[in-house]
Subunit: 255 residues, 2 copies
């Protein structure tokens, strides 16, 4: 049974994950960060030890959760001592095999977007689990179900596809909001006016498929409005080109 | 005071608007649609008369709400008899001046996305109002405040910009969901797994600006993952090109 946990990382995901685990009664033993100040800040909130030296990692925890930037993942795994507990990483696009040097290892991928200043409810976050053997998989599934309502196993290839899909559904979607913000700011209109629309667009997806939910000039084939909008974007060739490409895709994407 | 209303149109917006107005105690007198069946269906629900002939429009209502497809707007206005009440249209991208032939006219633009099968709460929808004279503006503002918590005046040029912003924040955002759906379907993964992420991405916007809320490989400058994703999209040149363009924009868009 998993009880004692070492958090390796103190960024957005580690912070939110740490809060949630502490609330659920898990014992966060230690927090590691490359930057000692970040380790200290998070450790204090979790009543844990902290370090910026991977050689000082406690060796007898039940679970190690590596939640560092993808760019530092390989290096962090390399420097991490061979511990007895289960070692996991949380990176959507990285293979299970990166953890080959340990005995029991796996993936805990909380499929959500994390910002430090926006608390999230882990109960509603799908947790995607993978492990190198059945016992470890069972341990991670049991752990997952204590953290979230939705836990599923998925292999590294599926997880990569899910991560790619998320870049469109989350990261690029957020950039669409940023573009809207740019347009509104330029004309002294508050971004607040568009917030209900953004929320409704997302919540529609609960009851309609994206194809059913599509609205706007492109799906209506309203070339008049499209030409008008492209004229309004004539000083913004990049935005005009994004507008054209996406409109064309929507028009040809009808079921 | 506005009490008796004629609805000109029976599509998504007219349907949702009609339901909401009836609930608030307004008297929907008559529903017009180009397609008599659609007029009948909506009129029955609203306990109203119906017609497919603009010459039969009742002449003594307080308010006429034109909510037809943008493509039919000019023609509908042309054929509409000169009535005494306030005549309004609801089209984000069309100018107030289209209604010049009437005495009192204006815009009631409920700034939201409407699908027939997804009921919306008008209380939370910003209503953008414009009118050709002060008295009509006051009448429409008073009417707006009975329908929604958020009512603002804005001129036709601002409204056009708001509509353009909405194409990005709503229509193109929904298409990002559709792309995610495509990717997941292709790999036998249920779209359900991504729904919490979509909702969280939208609700973040309530507390963070889009620039603050941006996450993902592009904002982290994670070229490794980006290259990997582009490789995964090598059979989908259009998606790869969208991925590249948006990632580049996110990278150069940092405050």
């Amino acid at each position: 049974m998993i009880r004692n946990i070492v958090l390796i990382g103190a960024g957005n995901l580690a912070t939110q994950f740490g809060y949630s685990l502490a609330k659920k009664g898990f014992n966060i033993r230690q927090v590691y960060s490359f930057t000692i100040k970040n380790a200290e800040i998070l450790a204090e909130k979790l009543n844990a030890y902290y370090t910026d030296n991977l050689d000082e990692i406690q060796l007898d925890a039940d679970l190690y959760i590596i939640a560092v930037k993808d760019a530092f993942l390989a290096e962090t795994i390399e420097k991490l001592p061979v511990v007895k507990g289960i070692v996991t990483h949380t990176a959507g696009s990285h293979h299970l095999d990166m953890l080959l040097k340990f005995d029991n290892y796996g993936i805990i991928y909380p499929f959500q977007t994390f910002s430090k200043d926006k608390e999230v409810d882990f109960n509603t976050i799908p947790i995607l689990v993978e492990a190198n053997n059945k016992q470890t998989e069972n341990d991670l599934l049991e752990f997952g179900h204590k953290v979230s309502q939705t836990v599923m196993t998925c292999d590294s290839d599926q997880r990569k596809q899910i991560h790619l899909a998320a870049v469109f559904a989350c990261n690029f979607t957020n950039h669409m909001y940023a573009i809207a913000d740019e347009i509104l700011k330029k004309h002294d209109i508050s971004f607040d006016v568009i917030k209900p629309l953004i929320l409704e667009t997302a919540s529609k997806i609960d009851v309609l498929s994206p194809l059913e939910a599509q609205t706007g000039p492109a799906i209506r084939g309203d070339q008049n409005i499209i030409d008008n909008h492209l004229k309004m974007l004539s000083d913004e060739s990049e935005l005009a080109s994004i507008y054209k490409t996406l409109s064309k895709r929507i028009m040809t994407n009808i079921e």
